[in-house]
């Protein structure tokens, strides 16, 4: 890696790591189920950034682009299913509070 590339790489990775920690904070502390889903999405965005950096630094941007597009499509499916689960929970409890998801223990 040349000097410029190396700086670019460290800055992007630091930014991605910050985003992952923000997402983890969001998932761990929020009590609203929708907010947890937003945290998951944020985490995926950080990962997408990492993939783009990987493609750019290694000079294989075309490969990384096809990965990112596939990843975006898959994430949409996951979030759609997750939103369906949240709606199902809401129909049972009339509430989006994650603390009410506590019937399974042991």
């Amino acid at each position: 890696m040349s000097g410029d590339m190396s700086t670019f790489f460290s800055i992007s990775v630091i930014f991605a790591v910050l985003m992952v920690f923000t997402a983890l904070y969001c998932i761990l502390t929020s009590r609203n189920l929708i907010r947890i889903l937003i945290g998951l999405e944020l985490m995926t965005k950080a990962v997408t950034l990492l993939l783009a950096v990987g493609g750019y630094v290694s000079g294989r941007m075309a490969l990384a682009q096809s990965f990112i597009i596939t990843l975006i499509v898959i994430e949409v499916v996951i979030i759609a299913v997750a939103a369906g689960i949240v709606i199902g929970t809401y129909r049972h409890t009339n509430d989006l509070d994650a603390r009410k998801l506590n019937s399974l223990k042991g």
Partner: protein, 476 residues
């Protein structure tokens, strides 16, 4: 031709969902059964050369060249058997409701296509794609009946699974920065010289962590009991029998062996996680009163054995790990089939209420005894041999403490299964179950089939060991 194992289930799902004729929806169940049987028969009958050839046209269309070896055969076979059993149990447990059975069949075929794809993938990114395909299908299968508990279990699984895939993907991104490629072949040659590189170390840690979550090993096991116990019976069979095994354990075996990851640190990490899983899973199973929850904890403990075999890393240990993977798919499915029968006939899974129902349900009682003896490692059943191979390999490689842990945890396994048998099947009939009946053929046939496989494999071990198990490493 192994690409057909992905394409045919997908095509079947597409065709069945075309609005052509009402008959389609009725036939779906039988189509699913035939596809599972076809997969099992073809895997046994066709030589390895047949599976590794691919017409040029298909390659140009798909740009995907699958890859098949002995380990992949084991996985294909267990996917076919467990899928078949799960469909039969769905027919039994989902009261002849046409549209529900239709939806179940569709999702099961999707999950099968995803798992078959995962088995043949030869780079990290397609591994991730197929992992997600089977994961999405299994999320919907767990929440199938829309019950409150099932939705809760699914949500927990979904969040942890999303975190796991984020970890796997960031590992892919980091590995790409260093090597510019994600195929196992390139990665295996690049990992050695770069093993001190901090970026590579971080990537390997993330990859292993993600796959540990997916395989439900302690300390990432939180979702396993919730998802297994709240899911409908047929889904529990599929999930415990094969989905976790393929998306977690098989992917872990494939990644570690293909990428030559087994350095000293990785070995210590993997074996420590495996030993903790074996002990914690067995201890937690002792204290359960819910039938399926106990089986879920037992599953965690058994997966620990497989990972222990992987961590030892010698040829013998890997053969034992793969054999235990197959055995576990068979006997854990059998136990979940028994749980399904008990739950449906008695209306409860609480082992404190049940008691002495072996008199009323003789076949279920008998097959569950076979399955638990195999899990606990009693000769000559198949589970004994695979555990024995792993323990001998651990001893020979100098990991005497781990071998001891594995043997002692085997006693714990025997303890919690004996307690389960005594509380559910043996002894005096509990009050309220006087007019209990044996389950019908839809569930007795798969139970007998799985029990026969467990006994048969145990008796054929001398032949299996030399002809199939020991060569596994040379092809990996």
């Amino acid at each position: 031709m192994s690409v057909l194992l992905i394409l045919v289930p997908l095509a079947a799902v597409l065709i069945m969902n075309l609005p052509l004729h009402k008959l389609m929806r009725k036939l779906a169940f039988w189509v699913g059964l035939v596809l599972c049987m076809l997969q099992a028969v073809l895997i046994i009958r066709m030589p390895i050369g047949f599976w590794n050839t691919q017409p040029d046209l298909l390659y140009r269309l798909l740009l995907f060249r699958p890859f098949t070896d002995n380990l992949a055969f084991v996985m294909f076979l267990s996917i076919a058997i467990v899928g078949f059993v799960s469909l039969l149990v769905a027919r039994y447990a989902i009261e002849n409701d046409g549209s529900k059975l239709f939806n179940f069949t569709n999702l099961l075929l999707l999950a099968m296509a995803g798992m078959n794809g995962l088995v043949v993938s030869r780079d990290l990114f397609s591994l991730y794609v197929f992992l997600e395909v089977s994961a999405v299908a299994s999320f919907i299968l767990i929440a199938f009946n829309n019950g409150k508990d099932a939705l809760e279990g699914t949500f927990k699984y979904l969040v942890l699974s999303a975190v796991a895939t984020a970890m796997i993907l960031s590992a892919i991104g980091l590995l790409m920065t260093v090597t510019g490629s994600v195929s196992f072949k390139t990665l295996s040659s690049v990992m050695g010289p770069n093993s001190g590189n901090p970026v590579v170390l971080l990537a390997v840690a993330l990859l292993l962590g993600g796959l540990f979550i997916k395989s439900g090993l302690v300390p990432f096991h939180g979702w396993v009991p919730d998802a297994y116990s709240s899911a409908p019976s047929a889904t529990s069979i599929l999930l415990a029998g094969i989905v976790t095994k393929t998306t977690g354990v098989y992917a872990l075996i494939r990644v570690v062996t293909k990428m030559n990851l087994l350095t000293h640190q990785v070995q210590v990490l993997v074996m420590a996680v495996a030993a903790v899983s074996i002990v914690v899973g067995a201890l937690a199973a002792l204290g359960q009163s819910d039938f399926k929850r106990m089986l879920a904890y037992s599953s965690i403990s058994q997966v620990g054995y497989i990972i222990l075999g992987l961590g030892i890393g010698s040829n013998l240990a890997l053969a034992g790990a793969v054999f235990h993977l197959f055995n576990h798919a068979i006997f854990k499915s059998l136990l979940f089939v028994n749980a399904a029968a008990v739950e449906k006939q008695t209306g409860t899974r609480n082992m404190d209420i049940l008691g002495g129902i072996s008199d009323k349900m003789p076949v279920t009682g008998f097959t569950s005894v076979i399955a638990f003896l195999s899990t606990a490692g009693i000769p000559p059943l198949s589970g004994f041999w695979s555990k024995l191979i792993i323990i001998i390999a651990a001893w020979k490689a100098g990991f005497h403490v781990y071998a001891l842990i594995a043997i002692l945890a085997s006693l714990l396994t025997l303890a919690y299964f004996l307690s389960m048998q005594r509380r559910v099947f043996f002894g005096k009939l509990a009050s309220g179950f006087e007019d209990l009946k044996e389950a019908n053929l839809w569930i007795l046939v798969p139970a007998c089939l799985l029990a026969a496989i467990t006994i048969g494999l145990g008796l054929c071990i001398p032949w299996l060991l030399n002809s199939f198990l020991l060569p596994i490493r040379s092809i990996l």
